[in-house]
């Protein structure tokens, strides 16, 4: 897979301007970078979420490739239906394309929580499709409610921070590892800042036979109370602080750390990531000093665990 700038300029953009995503949202760049990795005709299934709501306000659409909207809970089921539908039509000789890639896209709410059952089912049945989650850490579209992807200490409208609570107390679901436990051929975590890494991984995901899963990290200036210009900086910091390490899991047990994470000699303190966001502001008050340290310990422990799995001492 070539990731040369010259080829990227030539390749068509799958999403047009004029969509109504917030200024500074990282989801449109994720879709744009994903578009560079496509290899032919593609069908996108999109679960309800910011991306779906803001890109297709009737009677307009920002998508330039076939796209279908489905409910929060069944995007993986619909994607598997499309894959099997194409197979059935091919057998009857009623389909003109040789191969069509099917991609399912869900937000973190639709993947970590609501759509998890259908995702797990589709992975178990082993249809040949790619599932991508763009993880912005809460149900940002419906008003910033906490989800399974919300980080500990994050303030949302259903986990308010104050004198009694430091925001969400529970930890984030390790979705990539949960999905890898289905023993599917390919799982990877990506972020838009390291776009070359993203393109290579996404192409790999399309090329494997059977289901593949991509976990993309997507900063949200509206919900994270961060500056709109800092979205890509936050995506970079998430990798550098170990909040969203980049790795691949092949066949469920072979862990490979990707270059941007592997080349880090030492993790940056999580404080640097938190300082840029208003949703972690309360953690810097003396009352929640200990909680912040706990979050740091948790991130470091997860990082060490991951390094051990990847065989890096």
């Amino acid at each position: 897979m070539s990731v040369k700038l010259k080829d990227m300029i030539q390749s068509p953009q799958i999403m047009s301007s004029g969509h109504r995503m917030c200024a500074g949202c990282a989801a449109p760049p994720i879709i744009k970078i994903m578009g560079f990795a496509l290899r032919g005709p593609t069908i996108i299934c999109n679960a309800t979420g910011c991306l779906e709501v803001a890109t297709t306000i009737y009677p307009q659409t920002a998508w330039r490739i076939p796209w279908i909207h489905v409910a929060f809970e069944n995007v993986a089921a619909v994607a598997s239906g499309i894959v099997e539908g194409i197979n059935a039509m091919k057998e009857k000789g009623r389909y003109k394309h040789e191969h069509v890639d099917v991609i399912a896209i869900g937000g973190d709410g639709g993947t970590f929580d609501i759509g998890f059952g259908s995702l797990s089912g589709a992975l178990e049945r082993g249809h040949d499709f790619v599932y991508m989650v763009y993880d912005n850490g809460a149900y940002q579209n419906t008003g910033i409610q906490r989800s399974g992807a919300t980080l500990p200490g994050q303030e949302t409208t259903t986990s308010w921070a104050g004198k009694a609570e430091p925001g969400k107390r529970e930890r984030k679901k390790p979705i990539a590892e949960i999905v890898a436990a289905h023993r599917i051929p390919y799982v990877a975590t990506v972020d838009p800042f390291h776009y070359r890494d993203f393109i290579t991984k996404f192409r790999k995901a399309l090329e494997v036979e059977g289901p593949a899963f991509i976990h993309a990290f997507s900063p949200c200036p509206r919900g994270w109370r961060s500056e709109s210009s800092k979205s890509m900086e936050l995506a970079k910091l998430a990798v550098e602080t170990g909040i969203h390490p980049l790795y691949e899991i092949i066949n469920g047990d072979e862990y490979i750390m990707s270059a941007p994470s592997k080349n880090l000699t030492e993790l940056k303190p999580v404080d640097e990531y938190m300082k840029l966001q208003g949703q972690f502001k309360h953690l810097f008050s003396p009352q929640w000093e200990d909680f912040r340290k706990q979050v740091q310990e948790q991130v470091t422990a997860d990082w060490e665990r991951l390094k051990k799995k990847c065989g890096i001492a």
Binding site: Q13, G18, C22, S229
Partner: protein, 98 residues
């Protein structure tokens, strides 16, 4: 948008791809990016292009023809988020008030 019931495509499908182009989001902007070409790596030697890759609104218009490279912002769609100004390695882009 005022279409009769029998003029709407079946299932409410949208038949024209990328029709959101009709909606100009430039009005959302509070700050406008300004490009100074002096140190721009794209104009100099055809590399970098971080602003183009990271722009959420495809509002950075670049072109290369016969070795000549151009660079412009599409102010019809730019929402003024400032990602381009923040990511530019040589600080060629500045945000100024509308």
């Amino acid at each position: 948008m005022s279409k009769k019931f029998n003029e709407i495509p079946m299932g409410g499908n949208i038949l024209e791809p990328g029709s959101a182009m009709q909606y100009k989001t430039g009005g959302w902007r509070a700050e406008r990016p300004k490009h100074t070409p002096d140190d721009c790596l794209w104009l100099k030697n055809g590399t970098c292009l971080l602003c183009w890759i990271f722009c959420p609104d495809n509002a950075v218009k670049i072109a290369e023809k016969d070795g000549k490279r151009t660079y412009a912002f599409d102010y019809d769609y730019c929402k003024g988020c400032g990602i381009c100004a923040n990511e530019c390695p040589n600080s060629c882009i500045e945000m100024e008030s509308e």
